[in-house]
Amino acid sequence: MTMLLATLYQIVQMLLVLALAPLLTGWVRLVKARLVGRRGPSPVQPYRDLLRLLRKEVVLARNASWLFRAVPYLMFTAIWLAAGLVPIFTTQLALAPTADLIALIALLGSARFFLALAGMDIGTSFGGIGSSREMMIAALAEPAMLMVVFSVSILVRTTSLAEIADFMMSGVVGLRISLALALIALIMVAIAENARIPIDNPATHLELTMVHEAMVLEYSGRHLALVEAASMLKMLLYMGLIACIFVPWGMATASAGVGQGIVAALWGMVAFALKLAVGGALLALFETSIAKMRVFRVGEFLGGALLLSLLGAIFLYVSRGV
């Protein structure tokens, strides 16, 4: 019965992330527009954009290879699976033991690897610019991310996301400076990984400042729809990840009865929607209050994230006296 329920939750989660991701993007765009004094598009505009792209024909370069056509599907699936592995409304997910936090990061790494390859497939210069910068940012972000995992695992003694959420909700942790440092570091990494301001500008079409957008410049039609949807999913995933590690409250855990469990799961969904709304608004606020930085300042930004998370780990050692 628990297995069956876990499978049900897993399927619901896979569909839920798919349904919510464009809404989150629409919400962030709306709040940003309001903050700078525009009316902004409706929050459901991203759904319309995706549907329109899906219906359009694909324009392919003559020398595009099979890899170029396969990558949108592969990377979308990898990110979709990763988003399905982060506990967002319940910790009882069927696929939870398949991958821990490290495998999750690596899964996102695979998606990026293939997208960067696709950027180089046509042989135009923008794809190359995008791929090369994206890989540099990833090389800087990954150690910082791993350090965050390291500090969390000193405290929790696991990197399984469901167990982390359970542990954090049990209340034995309390407020800790090291966790705050890890949170800041994780947010910085999330900003870099999702190509948000100040690392990259998701709305830019000025060639020299583009990173992510330059890499996917040659995509069109259904392929572009998948790539766009994947980046929306990725933003949702990172918000879910931050929520799962640092504010897991409201999430359903293992419970005795089936009916009770389902009610808790529904409450978990409501709580997650609230967290997303707050997170999206904060992101919009942050993005409107800061300017984009030069590409070669990214090293300092992410190096800062690495140092913060390392400091967090050292604080933990000192404060726990282990």
Partner: protein, 660 residues
């Protein structure tokens, strides 16, 4: 086999016999090793009455030897398969002989693994080095090869000398050079400490630990591609075997700082290796530097295992050692595969320069697909095998806080960050490799005219590629196969403290509660993406229009006249972020004045810190000493006699002091 190889200079068809015979012998040896391991890995001993008259040659194959025998001989099988096709494609009558030395090289590596006394070990070690040196020299007409071979010979002699001193030090107390005797007598603390350093220098120079790696990126690429694969994928593993044998087995109870030193050098090696690799434009040299990076990861894992063994947490030590052994197997697979790919590209285009390649995915589809598998595996992408090794290594690193020493606790966090950095940079490095060689548009006429290579070579690549996937989704049976070796080295297995262990899950030690399942991941990704393709093509749209991409106005039949990224432009951001401090890398733009018609030029300069900081001063010191010692050549007979007399007195005094 070698004798047939000598005859092969006259008869080309003999190469089939040599490679076929070698492959057959390797298959037998690999099967034997696998059966031994599956049967629990009991040791087999053999004493041969050869060698010096009073010491016989002791041979012994235990579980650890069996693991490495498996790696070496499996590499031998695929390399022979590939080499057979490669030798036919590259028939060059001026090249030095490869065939006689190829089986000798493999035999030498096998001998090192089964040697059970210091004498046999060193003789086999030197045999392996010299055979590979002759293989490097086979293209002796190129000036660069000669330089590579000279450097290799110097570094190999240095390594052997260090190992010789190490064994001498460990056996002085009792004078018995068999491994059994060394194992039985624990050395004094000073002897052990010196022994560790000497072994790290000796085996480390063969494995390519920074800063002793300088010969490796010159010598490995100079050999024919299947030999490069063996040298990079397999011979470095023999050096790893030497480290494990001495540090875990012969020296007895370890001290924690041994592991600390290894982790520090491993971290530097991993990061520096991949940074070097990112700066290379020669395909094979890039792969050789990437070997340096992977050796760094293995050395980190070995260091972790030593540290945990010293602090009496054997299960975690077993986990770290399992990570090291798994990475040994994985690296031997994907590095052989990638060197075969480089050989295939070389066969098809005649060049190893990344900036001359491009668009090969259209002209060599099979090779391109197999290269993608290799590149993804070495970049540690799930669900392939490279990731499993990386995952186990991180699990061991996450157990670092359990250690008692403060310096190690914080040090391990830094090492973890270094491993993450090296992994991410490796992914960038192989996006660059694959993107410039196989994707995009051809950058030269030879790349435009490339055709797919022969069947034997493709078969040699398919086998490791299939294993890269298979070991990625089902790593647990292989790790179970390692168990006898792990028990022998650290007295525990990685699965010892978890009760429920199904064979298709990877869930080691419960100290950090985690699990990973590549199989489910692969199945789910495959299922979801096929559903996605079906749904989108049915429901949305499946129309395609082909057109010419916008290349900023450049679009001609001339391959040079396109604006696509090159290998050097791809690594520019990373060169600027990391290289400017580490390598003093500088980009210089030579911009012509307005009105001039010559093109603008961008030049990149960088220096190798290993050379400028370590080897150049050493060379200078050696020269200085030689100048001073030169005086000794021009003395009168009286002075020579005085010197000889003084030497005699000193020796007699020494004897008198030590014999008392």
């Amino acid at each position: 086999m070698a004798a047939t190889g000598v005859a092969a200079r006259r008869l080309p068809q003999v190469s089939g016999i040599v490679y076929g015979g070698t492959a057959g012998a390797c298959t037998l040896a690999a099967l034997w090793a696998a059966l031994r391991l599956a049967g629990g890995g009991a040791a087999d001993e053999l004493v041969l009455p050869v060698g010096l008259p009073w010491i016989h040659a002791h041979l012994r194959a235990d579980a650890l030897s069996a693991v490495f025998l498996l790696v070496v001989n499996f590499g031998g099988i695929t390399a022979s398969l590939f080499g057979w096709g490669y030798a036919r494609a590259h028939h060059d009558s001026h090249a030095g002989p490869v065939l006689p030395f190829y089986p000798l090289f493999l035999a030498g590596m096998n001998m090192v693994l089964v040697a059970d006394d210091a004498f046999t070990f060193l003789v086999s070690w030197e045999f392996m080095s010299l055979a590979s040196w002759l293989l490097v020299l086979s293209n002796h007409r190129e000036a660069e090869t000669q330089r590579a071979a000279r450097l290799y010979l110097i570094m190999a002699s240095f390594g052997t000398a260090c190992l010789l001193l190490a064994f001498g030090l460990l056996a002085t107390a009792h004078g018995d050079y068999s491994f059994a005797a060394i194992r039985a007598h624990a050395p004094s603390a000073t002897a052990a400490a010196l022994g560790v350093i000497l072994v790290l220098l000796g085996a480390g120079s063969k494995a390519g630990i920074v800063p002793l790696h300088v010969w490796l990126p010159l010598a490995h690429p100079a050999a024919p591609s299947h030999v490069s694969a063996l040298m990079s994928g397999v011979m470095t593993k023999v050096a790893v075997y030497a480290m494990i044998r001495v540090l875990f087995d012969l020296l007895g109870e370890p001290d924690w700082w041994w592991g600390g030193v290894m982790m520090a050098f491993g971290a530097v090696t991993a990061v520096m290796g991949v940074l070097y690799a990112l700066m290379q434009e020669d395909v094979k040299r890039l792969l050789a530097y990437s070997t340096v990076e992977n050796i760094g990861a293995i050395v980190i894992a070995l260091g972790l295992a030593l540290v945990f063994k010293a602090s009496h947490t054997p299960v975690i030590a077993a986990l770290a050692l399992a990570a090291a052994l798994l990475h040994v197997v994985n690296h031997s697979l994907f590095k052989s595969l990638l060197f075969f790919v480089a050989g295939a590209v070389l066969t098809a285009t005649g060049t190893r320069d990344l900036n001359q390649l491009g668009g090969l995915i259209h002209r060599m589809p099979t090779t391109a697909f197999l290269a993608l598998v290799g590149a993804a595996a070495i970049s540690a992408l799930p669900p392939l095998n490279g990731f499993v090794g990386e995952w186990l290594l991180f699990q061991a690193i996450l157990n670092g806080p359990a250690l008692p020493e403060w310096s190690l606790k914080i040090g391990i966090a830094v090492v973890g960050a270094a491993v993450a950095l090296a992994t991410a940079l490796a992914a960038a490095c192989f996006v660059r490799f694959y993107g410039t060689a196989f994707l995009g548009r051809p950058r030269s006429r030879v790349a435009n005219a490339a055709v797919e290579i022969g069947m034997a070579m493709r078969l040699g690549m398919v086998v490791p590629a299939v294993l890269c996937v298979a070991l990625g989704v089902l790593p647990t049976p292989l790790i179970r196969l390692f168990q006898p070796a792990l028990r022998q080295m650290v007295e525990a297995g990685p699965f010892d403290d978890r009760a429920y262990q199904p064979w298709f899950w990877l869930a080691p030690t419960s100290a950090i509660g985690n699990s990973y399942n590549g199989l489910i991941m692969l199945v789910v990704i495959g299922l979801l993406s096929s559903v996605l393709v079906l749904v989108i093509h049915r429901r949305a749209s499946d129309r395609v229009r082909w057109s010419i991409p916008w290349g900023c106005g450049f679009d001609g039949p001339d391959p040079a006249a396109v604006t696509q990224y090159t290998a050097s432009s791809f690594s520019q951001p990373i060169r600027r972020a990391f290289g400017s401090t580490v390598f003093h890398a500088r980009d210089r733009v030579d911009m012509p004045e307005p009105g001039e018609t010559r093109p603008a030029r961008l030049s990149v300069t960088w220096t190798d810190p290993a050379w400028t900081m370590i080897f150049v001063p050493i060379v200078r010191a050696v020269n200085w000493l030689a100048e001073r010692a030169n005086v000794l050549q021009f003395m009168t007979i009286r002075r020579y006699l005085t010197l000889m007399f003084l030497a005699l007195v000193v020796l007699l005094v020494m004897v008198a002091v030590t014999q008392r």
